[in-house]
């Protein structure tokens, strides 16, 4: 007999988690929604630029097919293609739904949604709401969930931290243990299905463009409990971050999409006021190297180019690792109406007006393409995702699902700009429907599971907390985190070398040992911020090892994973049909034979066990290397 009133938990209230919550509630199920803080403050609010969907309202003959190709190629073919196809096909419908939910999309003079250009594509395909698109999308979901709170289907647990899942003897997920961040008590929550939607992991790199909560700790916890993790080594470095002490605030790709230009002075070490440097003394290196896409090449390409100019050639502004992002040639009124949000951020934090003075930027850790491994079911007739299916977005642990930035499905080796608000929303919607389908098929409820599995897990969590609280004169968790971040940026960054990756793995072992000796200055049992932080640091170190080990073993260049020692360079000035280019294509395809595979990490006490999985390339066969020249 089916379970009458299934218990469902969603952990995380960003775009992914809120969409999941909405769809589960709409199927008439009750949802317990967990978040570290009020879900309205989730990291999704930071997204500025926009969300992709082919609406083709700009007379450019844009097509869904082109969106699919751009996403697959942009990700260097590393994503399984049926889910990508399904996402791109559903994108316009998702945008229409958001429109009905009241999102304040920017409008054309006739009152329809406007579109802008983003990186890695040639057509305008990015829907936006000023320069605070993520905030607007997040709020629209927050509002729908509030409606379901009002009608009794959603119960929020805000200021609660997910610590672990509870597994039964068959390895099935039957609930969670969470920490009340006010009373500091751990509690058991039984559940028939659990969704992890806890966002990105930028904080493993210390400074990043992410919010303070994007630690990846929750993903690390389920990984340590047996969930597979995929493609960890694929980290996106956003080309245009503001260098900062506490955070590298992002200057959206929209700045380039709207006409912003990247340059450095032609004279090495030049520190002249940029406005006094004449045109012919400026080096617009992206436009020179990639005439077809210019400043809107994909992120990995732009970040590496900036890295090359600064680190390899020493041509950064004043000899430092800095370049200009220049908007000053564009009309101020245009900029204010299209980019207000980011102009404000720059002005606020750098103290100068980017409409008048070129911005100073450098690449920053931004996004994790990899994440928790999830399953999907193919519809053999359409070559698409079969929907709904309980397999979609289910992790390798039955009953445990994942969506949003913490799952690794859609972006392969590199994510295109404005594609992750899409994947977070879309995967949330899909997972909501999968969970609803999954619980329908259950015959035994969590209430019938043996009580010991819950009490044991709770005890385990409490003893970890007690250990940290009772240590003294040990490691300071904040300093330990800083050490981890500095090391990751230095050794597992935009450009990677095996020697440095080996050193990084050594260092991680050391940090892991030291993280067992964390002690706290705050021992209070009320709203103690240090205890959850300490636990996050421990779990970040574990995930850092997954990232680094994956990077060490993958000897090639693909999207976010770049090892110059294994580069197959595109022959300069040669294009498809030229013998040199065809020779390059042959080598590139040969490399695909070896490396066009999903990295899968499984937790083991002495470090991650890595294996590789075949990729479904049934939509677009990998024959065209990425080429943005």
């Amino acid at each position: 007999m089916a379970v009458k009133k299934p218990k469902i938990i969603v952990v995380g209230g960003g775009l992914g988690g809120l969409w999941a919550t909405m769809r589960i509630a709409e199927a008439g199920n009750e949802v317990m929604l967990f978040s570290l803080f009020q879900v309205k403050r989730s990291h999704s609010a930071c997204a500025q630029g926009g969300i992709n969907a082919c609406l083709d309202t700009k007379g450019q003959h844009d097509s869904v097919w082109q969106h699919i190709i751009d996403t697959i190629k942009g990700g260097a073919y590393l994503a399984n293609q049926p889910p990508v196809k399904a996402m791109c096909e559903d994108a316009p419908g998702l945008i229409r739904t958001f429109d009905r939910m009241g999102v304040t999309w920017s409008r054309t003079p006739e009152g329809v949604m406007d579109l802008r250009l983003f990186g890695g594509v040639k057509n305008k395909r990015t829907c936006f709401a000023g320069a605070t698109t993520g905030q607007q999308l997040l709020y629209s979901c927050d509002e729908q969930v509030r409606k379901h709170e009002e009608n009794g289907l959603v119960k929020k647990y805000e200021f609660w931290e997910f610590l672990s899942i509870v597994k039964d003897g068959q390895g099935r997920c039957r609930g969670i243990v969470a920490l009340n961040l006010r009373t500091m008590e751990s509690e058991i929550f039984k559940a028939d299905a659990v969704v992890i939607a806890t966002g990105g992991l930028g904080l493993i790199y210390g400074k990043s463009t992410n919010s303070a909560s994007s630690t990846g700790a929750a993903a690390s916890r389920v990984y340590q409990q047996g969930a597979k993790f995929m493609n960890g080594e694929f980290i996106q470095f956003h080309p245009t971050g503001m260098p900062g002490d506490d955070k590298n605030r992002l200057m959206s790709e929209a700045a380039r999409g709207e006409g912003g230009r990247i340059w450095v002075p032609r004279k090495q070490g030049d520190t002249t006021d940029p406005l006094k440097i004449p045109e012919d003394q400026r080096w617009y290196f992206l436009e020179e190297w990639y005439p077809a896409y210019g400043n809107t090449v994909p992120r990995d390409v732009a970040s590496r180019a900036i890295n090359k100019v600064c680190v390899e050639q020493g041509m950064g502004i004043g000899g430092k690792n800095l370049v200009y992002l220049d908007l000053t040639h564009l009309p101020e009124q245009f900029l204010r109406s299209r980019l207000a949000g980011i102009l404000e951020i720059y002005e606020k934090f750098a103290g100068v007006d980017p409409c008048k003075v070129p911005m100073i930027i450098y690449p920053a850790t931004h996004y994790s393409m990899g994440g928790i491994w999830v399953d999907w079911e193919k519809d053999e007739t359409s070559g698409n995702l079969k929907q709904p299916s309980p397999r979609n977005h289910q992790t390798s642990i039955p009953g445990l699902f994942s969506c949003g930035e913490c799952d690794g499905t859609y972006h392969g080796a590199n994510r295109l700009g404005a594609n992750s608000l899409l994947s977070a929303s879309y995967s949330g919607r899909v997972v909501g429907e999968s969970v609803a389908a999954y619980v329908k098929g259950l015959t035994e409820s969590a209430d019938e599971a043996p009580e010991e599995i819950y009490t044991q897990e709770k005890k385990r969590q409490e003893s970890i907390n007690r250990q940290i609280l009772s240590n003294s004169n040990g490691e300071n968790p904040y300093l330990l985190h800083k050490e981890l971040g500095d090391m990751m940026r230095e050794k597992v960054g935009i450009v990677r070398y095996n020697k440095e990756l080996d050193e990084a793995l050594e260092k991680i072992k050391e940090l892991k040992d030291r993280s067992n000796k964390i002690s706290l200055e705050d021992k209070l049992g009320w709203s103690n911020a240090s205890l959850p932080y300490a636990r996050q640091v421990q779990d970040m170190i574990v995930l850092a090892e997954v990232i680094t080990k994956g990077a060490r073993l993958r000897d090639e260049c693909r999207g976010g994973q770049w090892k110059p020692e294994f580069e197959i360079p595109i022959p300069e000035g040669k294009f498809a049909g030229d013998p040199e280019f065809e020779e390059y294509r042959r080598k590139w395809m040969e490399n695909n034979e070896r490396w066009l595979k999903t990295t899968v990490a499984e937790h083991a006490p002495d470090g991650p066990k890595i294996s590789y999985e075949k990729i479904d390339t049934s939509v677009l066969s990998p024959e065209q290397p990425r080429d943005y020249r």
Binding site: Q38, S42, S211, S213
Partner: protein, 249 residues
Amino acid sequence: MPEVIRFKVKRQQNPDSKPYWEEFQVPYRPQHNVISVLMALRENPVNIKGERVAPVVYEVGCMEEVCGACTMIINGKVRQACSALIDQLEQPLVLEPMTKFPVVRDLMVDRQKMFDDLRKVRAWIDIDGGYDIHVHAPRISPKDWVMNYDFSRCMTCGCCMEVCPQFHPKSQFVGPAPIGQAWLFSNHPTGKFYKEERLHALMGPGGITDCGNAQNCIEACPKDIKLTDAIAKIGRETTIQVFKDLFLK
């Protein structure tokens, strides 16, 4: 150039304990903001007397003034700590929790009331469900867009509530932010189907008539949201609604 950043924090261990002041300093760095100073303190939490103490507890999220989490009173003014640049502030900095919400611990307060009131004023658009119905919502004129976008940037930070003389722990008044949201959803082409319900929620005790029109709120909003416009419009419309209720039903 100053070598240290000095600051005083009004601390409180829990909602029921007595507040106390504690003074700190951290090494100076250019471009520091109040949050990055509090982060630096965590690395070596020692007060000015040289005593090791628990790091100051505060709320933080985006670190770019878009989530509203880090709101507190800095040198007497309520604002977001992450965008409060040290170089533009007088020292010692004086950091206090907001006063209109219950203190949880140190600089962290409980703003749940604001979120509850968003439920009260039905701050959402009623849709059939989160699936495609193959049409867009009605068009919105660029002028309406400008107004709606303005209000939809409200990050529920509470600055406007902190400065409102009518809003305090003992009053029932919903305060300016939820009124702004009630207006936003009633200015949407399909949201306005439920305008009447929103107006009713804002009539009576704790509703719009409790506003004393002091205009403090609009001054304090970090996003320059035109709260008093919304209050005026909702005020007029509730008056009309009162008559409608009297004579048309």
